[in-house]
């Protein structure tokens, strides 16, 4: 069964009919040709497809396109103008925070979300006292970043460099 949806992906507006079963991930990859979000598990377990959906890091593999009519999506491909790098992308290069690169677009989008959430003082499971105010520095210690990024798996196990990359991009001391 088809429905009409309008979506903005990386700044470009698209209007198209979709089968109600289509996920945002399949729509972007198969219909819009945007292969930046990767399909890893397709069940919300690996984080490879992470994008910024209406400003927050979310998983398009678990989102029905029809339920997100009017949404604004930014993929890793759209984080910076063509030819330029977002500070998180530059930090991943500087810190050698990937090997094969398959999980990297998802890691990068997730890191952008993590830094934004830390800036708002959001606590995490690694936060010792959830009742206290949390500065971005306190929210982005090694253990905090590892916990906050735990929804992004890396089979090359580049974690040891991903954590400092996120810290560098956020401007906090590793």
């Amino acid at each position: 069964m088809d429905a009409q949806v309008t979506l903005t992906v990386d700044g470009t507006r698209h209007q198209l009919p979709v089968d109600t079963r289509t996920t945002l991930l399949d729509l972007m990859r198969e219909r819009l040709g945007n292969t930046s979000p990767k399909k890893g598990c397709d069940h919300g377990q690996c984080g490879a497809c992470t994008v910024l959906l209406d400003g927050q890091r979310q998983l398009p593999c678990l989102a029905l396109a029809v339920a997100h009519d009017g949404a604004e999506i930014v993929t890793a491909d759209g984080l910076a103008p063509a030819g330029e790098l977002h500070p998180v992308q530059q930090a991943f290069l500087d810190a050698d925070a990937f090997q094969c690169g398959y999980c990297t677009p998802g890691q990068v989008c997730s890191a952008v979300g993590v830094i934004e959430e830390a800036g708002r003082g959001w606590p995490s499971h690694a936060t010792a006292d959830v009742t206290a105010e949390l500065s971005p520095e306190q929210a982005l210690t090694h253990d905090e970043v590892a916990e906050r990024m735990s929804g992004n798996l890396c089979r090359c196990a580049a974690y040891v460099n991903i954590v400092p990359a996120v810290q560098q991009a956020a401007g906090v001391q590793a």
Binding site: M1, T20, A63, L64, W122, V130, E147, G151
Partner: protein, 339 residues
């Protein structure tokens, strides 16, 4: 995936009417669990009614000093809310112990308690499962039982062919905290509004393991209310799991300790529903909370526990583990109180 029709009604009343009118209709909120089940064939609705933007996404103060969590508020927003963190840390901690940042940004207050079990046989449509396909039997009995129930089950080795057999656990961390907090569930249904105590929302398998909750078809959670707690109340959530992050609980404990009052304890991942430890609470009423008294009260709570044998040694380890986790959680809360 089976084809389905999609509807986004104008308001919650219309959404309730739409679902009530179609026996094979479901509500969709964040979708983190439902969309996965659509892919797996575990959920096969004819109609999906989207309520994500219809219910309130706000956390608001109630006149009695409590808080109302709108059904569409996300797990992230609730966990980050200053009032929740200061007054109900057990809830913030439980939410933050669940899933991942991405999933918490999507999952909602209304949807989280309604997520289905993570029993591997429930998710595998090639195996018999009384919860997924009533009357087909239970594949978990004698199988992989590490995450399964030890309380609220009928026997250590129930009849796997009986239609009522189910040893699944409820997977939500949030729900364990809400059980300990005596939250109230605001529901809109075809017959109007009603309020359900959170501790009565979820069912034991009884004679119909396919039903997780007491909600009737067409009933929608519109909000969850947190009652006010006396000043100085302490609360905490402790989760024990196989890895440090992004894993379901082996056991978990939510505890609420009002000053000079009676402790409230809820246990997670030990039963078909969040398990309020009422027997232990009763034994601890008016008693001094020491390792010894808590252990003895939990021994009584767990006297009827049924370890499930199974692959890799079964789940008997949960019984001492949950006892010790309660002792450790209350030890931390009481030492915090006397510090």
């Amino acid at each position: 995936m089976k084809p389905f029709a999609y509807a986004r009604p104008a308001d919650v009343a219309e959404a309730v009417r739409d679902v009530a009118a179609e026996p094979n209709a479901v509500f969709l909120a964040g979708g983190t669990n439902l969309v996965d089940h659509l892919k797996l064939g575990v959920a096969r609705p004819d109609l999906v009614v989207d309520v994500r933007t219809l219910t309130s996404a706000d956390v608001s103060d109630l006149p009695d000093g409590g808080l109302r969590l709108g059904a569409a508020s996300t797990n992230s927003e609730v966990a980050a809310d200053r009032r929740v963190r200061e007054r109900y840390p057990v809830l913030a901690q439980a939410l933050l112990a669940g899933a991942t940042g991405q999933l918490r940004n999507t999952a909602t207050t209304g949807g989280n308690p309604l997520q289905r079990t993570r029993c591997v046989y429930f998710a595998d449509v090639t195996t018999p499962c009384n919860k997924r396909e009533p009357g087909s039997g239970c594949s978990a009995v004698g199988g992989y039982t590490r995450y399964h129930a030890v309380l609220g089950t009928t026997a250590a080795l129930p009849d796997p062919t009986a239609p009522e057999t189910c040893i699944a656990t409820h997977p939500s961390d949030m729900a364990v905290a809400l059980a300990a907090l005596d939250a109230q569930v605001q529901v809109l249904g075809p017959a109007g509004e009603r309020t359900i105590p959170f501790t009565e929302l979820h069912r034991l398998p009884g004679d119909d393991p396919s039903r997780d909750t007491v909600l009737e078809h067409g009933e929608l959670i519109t909000a969850i209310d947190l009652p006010p707690l006396p000043a100085g109340t302490r609360s905490a959530y402790r989760k024990v799991r196989d890895r440090a992050s992004y894993a379901y609980a082996l056991v978990s404990v939510a505890a609420v300790l009002p000053p000079g009052g009676d402790v409230r304890i809820a246990l997670g991942s030990v039963a078909h529903r969040p398990w309020r430890a009422t027997r232990a609470e009763e034994l601890l009423r008016g008693a001094e909370l020491t390792d010894h008294s808590v252990r003895a009260a939990m021994d009584a709570e767990l006297a009827g526990a049924q370890p499930q044998p199974g692959l890799g040694g079964g789940n008997g380890f949960k019984i001492p583990l949950v006892n010790r986790t309660v002792v450790a959680t209350l030890r931390a809360l009481t030492s915090e109180a006397s510090a």
